[in-house]
Amino acid sequence: MVLLQQIINGVMLGSTYALVAIGYSLIFGVLRLLHFAHGEVFMVGAFIALCSVWFLNAGPVLAVVCAAVGCAVLGVVIEFVAFRPVRRRSGGMLAPIVSSLGVGLLLQEVATNIFGADQTRFPPQFEATVYHFGSLFVTSTQLFILATSFGLMLLVHLFISKTKYGLAMRAVAENVDVAGLLGINSNAVVVLTFAVASALGGIAGVLVGFAFSAISPFMGISMTIKGLVVMLIGGLGNVYGAMIGGLVLGIAEVLTVGYLASSYRDAFSFALLILVLLVRPQGLFAGGLRAGH
């Protein structure tokens, strides 16, 4: 029963990793670039939700919506400021890493100057109710997180596989030039990708804020790293791989804490990463955005 409880907790943690990693995968799938400020978008999402609770007296759902909209806008701004100019001058693979690291630093300092460097949390009306099922327990927060993140994963799947915009995204991921020849406005697709990816990242920030009630300007750094790890475990640019990779990492981390030591939690995820790189460098599920269709 302890194991089952651990797995429930792990799935909850993993589903937030998955949301962040889906964002990474979408951006990598379309642009072939790493977005080193994605963790900071995640952090900003948590703060936007906090503000909406403070000033609009928002409930959890409205807080998530505010964070999603705010982060989508932020993501588009990041694309225009830090990615498009670099891409237009064909800065290669490294220049976007520099500019996005810059954006990450900037967002961290802005958040520190507004909210202070200490951890803050959601007000007490967000305290969870606990439901008991025999010896298992699930909190209302956990249920909300699971419902939101799995609902979003389903939406992402439907968006990519069923809509015109998802098709355009897959086409650009497959080949920018050919997609352009076929009349797809690839710049618009990139903007859309940043909006969707950043909205998902921001929502993950709110969910993590609900679950651990530890919101700080520096909460994004480890998410930047873990999101990259999850994306690589799942296969670069593979959205479905990112979903599964996130869940695997979440469960693995919770089990490490439960059965080994909490301080080894992070080492395990990176060991998993190196193992995957050595044994199956293309990731557990190879293929890009187009995989599975």
Partner: protein, 276 residues
């Protein structure tokens, strides 16, 4: 002469120049690392252990630095052996993961202080040590460019397949580049430890690796002047920006974005920077 404040800035600058060299060496062979802080930590802990805990023998500082660098270099070669077949983005994420693993291992390794760190390190790092070592590596790396090994690095950087066709042993050359970079990072770690006098694993996190990476990408990697320029700009700029107070990192961040847009090959680069 220098005030103690200026001297400490100069020592930090020297350590940063060495960290920049440690990224420059693998980068010149086309291997991008975002995990050099891991090697720095190994050098720092190894040399600090030798000088402050290993009291049975009176280990001289120079030897301790060298052994710290050697420990980092050996780990570098061991890590690189399987990693050389990984390229580009995969290598970046793998080295990032390596850096974090080293950090977490030190957090869990109680004989070296674990998470609470290692204190009571002797203040052995002086400005002359730092200047001498930086000059040595600068001259060494400058001369290296016209040796067969240095040319092999450049060849691999430009085109791996062509380099291999020219008879360059890819595996061995990449190991040299990665191990060499790790060795320099280990030396930098040793100098840092004997100046900071207290080290803990959190000092060698991702931000340290990212900083070292930025020195080289900002400065440029066509010759050792680039990393030096990058390290000088990144280390000294925040000092000159003190009047901006809480916003100085923001200014720096904007500068990073501007450099990425207008000088993607680095401050010191060819007019048409050939980059992967």
């Amino acid at each position: 002469m220098l005030s103690s404040y200026q001297e400490s800035i100069a020592i930090f600058l020297g350590v940063n120049v060495l960290m920049a060299f440690s990224v420059y060496v693998p980068t010149s062979a086309g291997l991008i690392s975002l995990g050099q802080a891991g090697f720095m930590a190994i050098g720092a802990y190894a040399s600090a252990y030798l000088t402050s805990r290993f009291t049975a023998f009176d280990v001289p500082f120079g030897l301790a630095l060298f052994l710290g660098g050697a420990a980092a270099g050996i780990v570098g070669v061991l890590v690189a052996a399987p990693a050389v077949r990984i390229r580009g983005i995969y290598l970046i994420i793998a080295t990032l993961g390596f850096g974090e693993i080293v950090r977490v291992l030190f957090v869990n390794f109680e004989p070296l202080g674990g998470a609470s760190g290692l204190s009571g390190i002797q203040p052995l790092t002086t400005l002359s040590w730092v200047v001498a070592i930086c000059l040595f590596f600068f001259v060494f790396l400058w001369r290296l460019r016209s040796t067969p090994l240095g040319r092999a690095f450049v060849a691999i950087h430009e085109d791996e397949t062509a380099a291999e066709a020219m008879g360059i042993n890819l595996f061995r050359t990449k190991l040299m580049a990665f191990g060499g970079g790790a060795f320099i990072a280990g030396i930098a770690g040793g100098l840092y430890a004997h100046f900071a006098l207290f080290i803990d694993p959190s000092q060698f996190g991702f931000s340290k690796s990212a900083e070292a990476f930025l020195f080289v990408i900002l400065g440029g990697s066509v010759n050792p002047l680039g990393p030096v320029a990058g390290a000088i700009v990144v280390t000294l700029l925040p000092e000159f920006l003190r009047f901006l107070q809480d916003w100085r990192m923001s200014f720096f961040a904007v500068l990073l974005i501007a450099c990425a847009v207008w000088r993607p090959g680095g401050l010191i680069s060819y007019r048409r920077a050939a980059h992967p």
